[in-house]
């Protein structure tokens, strides 16, 4: 394999993971972590300039370019946030230097696994990558070693493993379906070859395979009723990991699901995957929206909001068609950026106040105006109010599906409105009202948060034409 951008997407995080595991001193390693993610981002962007050749193992096409750039970008900004977050954690003694070394190595290993899952052309390789990503995040969720963190990590590990096992069974079934057509061996697991021949596969086998894949990867996407691991894992792990989980890992699992959906789409006799995805998406939206009301932990609340938004995205992709797919992609991008920005804010807020309980946080706009208003902006964005990007993508999801299935869209809108109410109810007490808790100024890095929110705001007002045409291409690919 020549040393092109594709290789460097995998090699940089891999080398960085090994190096960071060995180096002492958290100041240096935090900087190296940022540097490594920056280099990965640069090689991701270079994919648009020179497209490397795809082989039997690795693949670059219009679909995964979008995911790769989004992943590496949020990976980079999160590493910047992580540097200041970790600095504070060390100072208050919540983490020891040994754990920080471990944390940075795992962060890079996670980046490696996510990039591998995105560029894998072999469905077996993709599965392995998602499994590695799961294992690294399990370790990071349990890092604080409190009762709650251990319980969250254990739950995540068990549910994640079950999901991953079901996904493997589905992968084997896809191979079984492909074997009579393509022949034995390597070729029958290569996604591009599968796509070329999928029309001739046995539809019944493909149907069963998709059900397993939907349940398996759907667990990792956080679709209700398979979401139980998600709120705990988000609430108990270090906040940078919550940002990466919500912003990126859920997308990667969704990407795997979309690849298989494309296989089914070209087979005329197979079931349409759409209705299954629409149903699970709507259940997730309604369920998560209702759950927002009784939350007492701020990180948990935004974890439920992630379930809601993944539901909207899966709904959009399930409806299918060029416009709904476009809306789904846009919503996914906007959600990743906004949700990670919110977690950046929440991470610093929890550090300043020393608690994650909503009841103990109050009057942030008075005590920490920058953080408080940042959170307000983030919540306004995530709730889908104009003029921010999520308003636009939600509007597109609704308008593109309303003509086809008015009732389903009505349910979706109901879910979005319920969630909006829940979010603002809690936001009100957190950012306005009587100041509670310590009023110490925050030593925070605001750049990542406001960069994300700025992009979301800009996207809500004006989408550059190259971006629109790029997304449109991908939407067409998705069918």
């Amino acid at each position: 394999m020549t040393l092109d951008a594709l290789a460097s997407l995998l090699l940089i995080p891999a080398i960085a993971a090994a190096t960071l595991a060995l180096l002492p001193g958290y100041r240096l390693t935090a900087r190296l972590n940022v540097l490594a993610t920056l280099l990965t981002l640069l090689s991701a962007v270079s994919l648009f300039v020179v497209e490397p050749t795809s082989g039997n193992y690795l693949l670059v096409d219009d679909l995964n370019k979008v995911f790769i750039v989004l992943t590496t970008f949020v990976g980079f900004t999160t590493s910047v946030f992580s540097a200041s977050y970790i600095h504070h954690e060390i100072e208050i003694g919540r983490l020891t230097p040994v754990f920080v070394r471990f944390y940075h190595a795992m962060y890079q290993a996670l980046m490696f696994a996510m990039n591998l899952a995105l560029v894998a052309n072999n469905i077996g390789l993709m599965w392995v990558a998602v499994e590695i990503a799961t294992l690294t995040t399990v370790l990071m969720v349990g890092m604080y070693r409190t009762h709650e963190a251990l319980e969250a990590a254990w739950k995540y590990f068990i549910l994640g493993s079950v999901g991953i096992a079901l996904a493997l069974f589905g992968t084997i079934l896809v191979y079984m379906a492909a074997r009579p057509v393509i022949g034995e061996g390597q070729e029958a697991m290569v996604w591009t070859v599968l796509l070329a021949h999928a029309a001739k596969f046995d539809p019944a086998l493909l149907n069963v395979a998709f059900v397993f894949l939907l349940l398996g990867y759907g667990t990792k996407v956080g679709l209700a009723p398979l979401h139980a691991w998600l709120p705990d894992a988000h609430a108990e792990g270090p906040t940078p990991i919550s940002a990466v989980l919500s912003g990126l890992l859920l997308n990667v699992a969704l990407y795997a699901l979309l690849r298989f959906k494309m296989l089914l789409a070209v087979n005329p006799a197979a079931i349409a995957p759409g209705p299954l995805m629409v149903t699970m998406g709507l259940i997730s939206v309604i369920f998560a929206a209702l759950m927002l009301y009784r939350r007492r932990d701020i990180k948990r609340m935004f974890a439920y909001s992630s379930i809601e938004h993944m539901g909207i995205i899966v709904f959009a992709f399930g409806m299918g068609g060029a416009l709904a797919n476009f809306a789904g992609l846009l919503h996914m991008t906007m959600h990743s950026l906004t949700k990670s920005a919110i977690f950046f804010a929440v991470g610093h807020i929890a550090q300043v106040k020393g608690t994650q309980k909503i009841a103990d946080i109050g009057g942030l706009t008075v005590t920490n105006p920058v953080l408080g208003w940042g959170l307000v902006l983030g919540v306004v964005a995530i709730a889908g109010l104009p003029p921010l990007g999520i308003f636009m993508s939600e509007f597109l999801v609704v308008s593109s599906t309303f003509a086809r299935e008015p009732w389903l869209t009505a349910i979706l809108v109901l879910g979005i409105v319920i969630a909006l109410g829940g979010l603002f109810l809690r936001l009100n007490s957190v950012v306005f009202g009587e100041p509670k808790g310590t009023t110490a100024p925050a030593e925070a890095s605001y750049v990542p948060m406001f960069t994300h929110l700025g992009i979301v705001l800009a996207a809500g007002i004006y989408l550059p034409p190259p971006l629109v045409s790029g997304f449109r291409n991908v939407a067409k690919l998705l069918g």
Binding site: E151, A165, M176, V208
Partner: protein, 220 residues
């Protein structure tokens, strides 16, 4: 495929389901581990037989991994962990044995119905093996659901992985990459679990997952 080769493959895969069902009603940790060792041993035999009749030498490696790693090393290590933790007494099952067995039989029937119906095109052996493999996977899930003890949940998960290996070998000519990855994932999973067990021990003096439940997220 000649009759005897098919019959033996069928027998071995069927035995794997039977051993899975046996795991359902074990109420002691030691016994559960022993049955798991048998489970892995049967898997090793089954995979080796597949290697022979499919003329696929790389499958012998998978069989060897199943035999050495899953049938011998893991049970021995888990034995020692159990002794060290002092939890070698009874397992608390969440649901009664009778109900669990009924559910298990139902799951086996379900997987037969599902898999045999959708694979009329595949060869007979692959069909049967896939149906058995799905049964083992579902029974593994059932074990994980019905147990509260962390060690027995792990054993349930490992039996589930055995079902996946059976499925992967039944899918004739499936690239080696997957077999290795399955074995590898078990290894990683095991290391992690080991770490977890020790951490849980350190914090709770118990590996009963119910102890963890008390600290669930928001009930503070």
């Amino acid at each position: 495929m000649n009759g005897l080769a098919f019959d033996i493959a069928h027998l071995l895969a069927g035995s794997l389901v039977l051993v899975s069902l046996m795991m359902l009603y074990q109420d002691r940790l030691y016994a559960l581990l022993n049955v798991y060792a048998v489970h892995a041993g049967v898997l090793a035999l089954s995979v080796a037989w597949q290697a022979l009749i499919q003329h696929a030498p790389h499958l012998y490696l998978t069989a060897l991994i199943a035999l050495v790693f899953k049938a011998i090393i893991i049970p021995v290590v888990l034995h020692r962990i159990i002794v060290r933790l002092g939890i070698h007494r009874e397992i608390e099952t969440a649901v009664s044995v009778g109900l669990t067995m009924m559910a298990g039989i139902g799951l086996v029937a379900l997987s037969m119905v599902v898999m045999l119906r959708v694979t009329p095109g595949a060869d007979a052996l692959a069909r049967e093996d896939l149906a058995f493999a799905l049964s083992v996977v579902l029974l593994g899930l059932l074990i994980m659901v019905t147990r509260r003890n962390a060690v027995s949940q792990v054993v349930g998960f490992m039996s589930l992985e055995n079902g996946l290996v059976l499925a992967a070998t039944a899918a004739k000519g499936m690239p080696l990459v997957v077999e290795i990855s399955v074995a590898f994932s078990v290894l990683i999973a095991f290391i992690i679990i080991g770490i977890f067990l020790f951490r849980i021990r350190e914090r709770f003096d118990s590996v009963d997952v119910q102890a963890l439940d008390r600290f669930r997220g928001e009930r503070r």
